[in-house]
């Protein structure tokens, strides 16, 4: 799973897609996940990091994670070969 290379992501959670002109605002958790995705972490690695850091079990996180990934795909924020 790779995020579009051209996406500009600010520390405050503002995401700008320069190819479409669309912009989005992320909550802190989503920002953390998207930054991990940008660093090429696998879903398993992200799950481990988040479940250790926050009070959430693996299966609940997985559900939310793939829901979030689905949203990224729908918004075409995922690299084309990953869609």
């Amino acid at each position: 799973m790779k995020i579009k290379k051209s996406l500009a992501i600010s520390d405050t959670g503002f995401v700008f897609d320069p190819s479409t002109g669309d912009s989005y605002t992320l909550n802190p958790t989503a920002l953390e996940i998207i930054q991990l995705l940008k660093k090429d972490h696998s879903p398993e690695q992200i799950s481990e990091i988040i479940t250790q850091k926050y009070d959430v079990d693996e299966s609940a996180f997985e559900r939310y994670f793939y829901d979030f990934i689905g949203m990224l795909k729908q918004m075409q924020l995922v690299a084309p070969d990953e869609e």
Binding site: S6, A8, F16, P18, S19, T20, G21
Partner: protein
């Protein structure tokens, strides 16, 4: 280093909710570091805001509508030229471009330069000629048909040449999406009453509207091109906010189109990007658009380059622009004196 002052006549000063490009073009020219400018406004109506915007327009003259005839317009331009010694004239309305193309040689003899498309370029990109234009230049365009009666739209549907939704367009301005035959007839009547015939029926293409402002030098070279997506659209379909895009595909598309047409002058491409990432050309406006100042702010002063080309200077093509630059239009109430309004109304000059 500004070496000279150019007297530049500009129309399209109706900086209203559906704005003409005059004031944004002037903003670009005013920011030139190549030349000084004296701006001579050409106004059609007493309440166009431009004549009262003295930071942008130095002197305004009322001119007759092109529909009143070429000779009366030419007579008025000669009058203005005798007083102002016009170096360059930039018409900014679709409806006057044709007349000024026709007058270009006569204007040149008087020493007035223009930088307009050729008559052939102007004619072949007409909404009603779009399918042939697309075929000739190898670009995708939606099926379009010029019609002179509402029943022709019904026949097109019956013959399965088009299907609803359809876009019903005026020859110069206005477009409405019709979802059925009743709406198509209503929009046909509305548009034909306002803009005359033919009315253009275009197959609706689903996708995101994106636009490019560009300048061609007339030899096939693109002097500059900036793609934009409208972020906020008014009920008249005009951009009230927009953003420059990082879209090499649109730039490449524009370069190919200008190379193929050898386009001379400013242009605005109206495109639809489909979900499959295909670009459909829905319209070419043969002039710089009202949002051209976004290109200036993004690093491509296309109005300045157009003036340089008009006066025979060599212009190096722009190679870059700022991505993610946003414009937000706003309205502003100018307070003007009755004296000024009276002067423009009665003497035709301000």
């Amino acid at each position: 280093m500004k070496s000279k002052t150019l007297n530049i006549a500009i129309s399209g000063l109706n900086n209203v909710d559906s704005p003409g490009p005059g004031i944004p073009v002037i903003r670009g020219i005013r920011e030139s570091n190549k030349f000084e400018s004296r701006i001579i406004g050409l106004a059609y109506e007493n309440l166009e805001p431009g004549p009262y915007m003295h930071d942008f327009v130095d002197k305004t003259y009322k001119v007759p509508y092109p529909s009143e005839g070429v000779e009366s317009l030419m007579e008025r331009i000669s009058y203005i030229h005798n007083r102002e010694n016009i170096d360059v004239l930039i018409p900014n309305f679709d409806s006057e471009i044709f007349v000024f193309i026709k007058l270009a040689d006569r204007l040149k003899e008087m020493g007035i330069h223009t930088f307009l498309p050729t008559l052939q370029q102007f004619e072949e990109r007409h909404k009603s000629n779009l399918p042939a234009f697309g075929k000739k230049h190898g670009i995708k365009v939606p099926d379009s048909y010029p019609v002179t009666s509402a029943s022709e739209i019904f026949d097109l549907k019956k013959d399965q040449k088009v299907d609803y939704p359809l876009v019903i367009k005026g020859i110069f301005y206005d477009a409405f999406i019709a979802g059925n035959s009743e709406q198509a007839a209503i929009y046909f009547n509305k548009i034909s009453a306002k803009w005359g015939l033919p009315v253009v029926v275009q197959q609706f293409v689903k996708g995101t509207e994106v636009n490019v402002v560009a300048l061609g030098d007339g030899t096939g070279k693109t002097v500059g091109a900036v793609p934009m997506r409208k972020q906020y659209i008014t009920d008249k379909g005009k951009a009230w906010g927009g953003i420059t895009l990082d879209d090499p595909g649109m730039i490449d598309y524009t370069h190919k189109l200008i190379a193929s047409t050898k386009w001379r002058g400013g242009m605005e491409l109206e495109l639809i990007r489909t979900a499959d990432n295909e670009l459909f050309l829905i319209e070419i406006n043969p002039r710089l658009p009202a949002w051209v100042y976004l290109a200036v702010a993004a690093g491509q002063n296309l109005p300045e380059a157009m003036i340089q080309l008009a006066t025979g200077e060599n212009v190096s093509p722009f190679t870059d622009f700022a991505i993610g630059k946003i414009f937000i239009r706003y309205s502003f109430d100018m307070i003007c004196s009755m004296d000024e309004f009276q002067k423009l109304s009665t003497t035709g000059e301000l």
